[in-house]
């Protein structure tokens, strides 16, 4: 992750950029022009950013349905992402994938897919390949707390452990699976313990603190790079908006205003700003600069998307099998 900002400021900038992208999507979502189910990551920017800091372009990342932060932090092309949401032929999947299937192989973002758990095993296969052909390169796969309920999570960790694969399994625990709270789905224990039985070391941390994320990620990535095998990272975090779409869905009654307030106070941007501890005036200038450059980038991405053509009807049956 290199976004042009000095090392110390880069994580903040990247999180801000992701936040603003999501907000821009949210703003225009009701136009009904991006007709693809978007799972916003507002509030969950830190894991993607803190992990990606330790990855090279050659390292591979896989994500699931809530993937925008992972794609952007890994360096995925913003214009092609927005175009994909608009279903245009310039989208990163030529419009065939939508929000849940981003890809940018040029920066090592290997893909994303919304069937819970499936990308965990697929990422494990990429790690199998890297171990043999690209020693020193690593795979990161991101998923939610519910994906850990799929048996394939265990099958993957066990195999990665057996073969010491260079992979980091990153769980963003945001407490919910759609609208279902943890206690209706999982026994009461730290998710990190799930890896114990597979002899995969696990590390748990504050997923709203990008510095803490970075520290744990650094350990895990180094392990993988040096052939010491897989790690399991659990980052506790929270999604501010609803499961899908941009509404803050307090009306659904599965979470409270209090809970939301609590987590808004833990906003990763605010935390990181505090940690940076810059004088107010300097900060104001800096953040204006950041906002301006981000606004420009976002506007240009949306323009690119909206001005792009839709795929031609004939494309519906192209590319079913490679030839």
């Amino acid at each position: 992750m290199t976004n042009g900002w000095p090392h110390e400021l880069a994580p903040y900038f990247e999180m801000l950029r992701i936040r603003r992208v999501e907000e821009a999507i949210a703003r225009r979502y009701s136009d009904q022009q991006m007709r693809t189910p978007v799972h916003f990551c507002i509030g969950q920017e830190a894991p993607a950013v803190g992990v990606s800091m330790h990855l090279t372009l050659a390292d591979q990342v896989m994500s699931a349905h809530r993937n925008h932060a992972h794609y952007l932090a890994k360096g995925g092309d913003l214009g092609r992402m927005i175009a994909e949401l608009y279903g245009r032929s310039t989208g990163c999947c030529k419009g065939r994938g939508g929000s849940q299937h981003l890809i940018d192989t040029s920066v090592g973002f290997a893909g994303a897919a919304p069937i819970l758990g499936s990308t965990i095993s697929i990422a494990t296969g990429i790690a199998f390949k890297l171990a043999k052909f690209n020693p020193g390169e690593v795979v990161v796969t991101y998923f939610g707390d519910a994906a850990c309920e799929e048996g394939v999570f265990h099958e993957s960790l066990a195999f990665a452990s057996l073969h010491s694969l260079p992979i980091i399994y990153v769980c963003e625990n945001n407490l919910y699976s759609v609208h279902s709270p943890m206690e209706s789905r999982q026994p009461d224990r730290p998710i990190a313990e799930l890896a114990t039985g597979h002899r995969v070391p696990s590390f748990e941390g504050d997923g709203n603190d990008v510095a803490e994320v970075s520290m744990l990620a650094s350990t895990a990535v180094n392990r993988a790079r040096n052939g010491a095998g897989p790690s399991f990272l659990v980052f506790n975090t929270y999604r501010i908006v609803g499961h899908v779409g941009p509404e803050v869905d307090l009306n659904l009654g599965y979470r409270t205003q209090d809970e939301l307030d609590h987590w808004e106070r833990k906003d990763p941007l605010v935390q990181e700003m505090r940690r940076l501890g810059l004088p107010t005036a300097a900060w104001k200038e800096l953040s204006d600069q950041m906002e301006d450059s981000i606004t420009l980038e976002i506007e240009s991405a949306f323009r690119f998307a909206i001005e792009s053509p839709y795929p031609d009807a004939a494309e519906v049956a192209l590319d079913v099998v490679p030839s």
Binding site: R96, H101, A313
Partner: protein, 350 residues
Amino acid sequence: MRKLSFASAILEAQEYLLANDPSVFVIGLGVPTNAGVFGTTVGLVKKFGPDRVLDMPASENGMTGMGVGAAIAGMRPIMVHNRVDFAVLAMEPIVNQAAKWFYTYGGQVSCPLTVRLIIGRGWGQGPQHSQSLQAWFAHVPGLKVVMPTTPSDAKQLLIAAVNDPAPVIVLEHRWLYDTVGPVAAQSTGEQLGVSRLMAEGTDVTLVSCSYMTLECLEAARLLATIGVSASVVDLRTVSPLDMTTILGSVEHTRRLVVADTGHTWFGISGEILARVAEAGINLLSRPLRYGLPNAPTPTTASLSDVYYPRAIDIARGISSQVMGANAPLLEDPDLGKPLDWPQRAFTGPY
């Protein structure tokens, strides 16, 4: 009669079953939440309590196996998977276990598991949220496969499914959820395995299921404007397949068109054409099939609009089959309208 939406009819069926049979329970991701599986389980947990109306972990395989176990132990589980695509993880317990239990163990123990599966479509549902795999289930001896079209059938056939001692897969099309129709307050004691003649005509028989039956009825309406008279058979149950109704109609019209919500190739439409051929009926013109092309579902509306066949496609195909080159050109009543969601009021995401 009262009118209810398809979704409310499903809710009412489950309410009836829970109230009348203590061995029934409903389980699935989000079942007891306020959103309640697109409204089909809303309020049930309040009425029947959290031990009969349950959420579950995202463990489709294990949970469906669990359902098999509860069923062979005498319960009547209703398990909901929010998309057919997620149930692909649950094929093992459904196909290897539930379907074969009664037969394998010498007819001693039945497995009355009901699995509700929702077929996604439109508004960006894309390749992994829109599959319609009735052909898979119908291929497996021991399973019954139900695809309701009307709100009334959504209720009555779900009751029949849960009361049936066999494992039953109920495929519900998301685009039917907001359709409205008369629904009897009581259970009508419907049985599985009987199709329904939804329209009677003389020139052609359209056989279809689920949402595609609505397209066929619309096609029949369009055809009527040019003087072609069509019968429409709504399958209701894909397996067992009610060939009596189909053959009865085709013998009369001597033309066959099948429209399906799944992929055409190696799907249920091939089976129906084959059975008609085996019956030795000489058709007046080549049979036609409408279904999904041989490609995964594209997400963008610009492609999914051409991906899904519609009434106009069916009507045009039939008119040229029946009238040849002289067929008058049928106009597309939906020309220029957005096609990737069922009605304008709907705004995603779902």
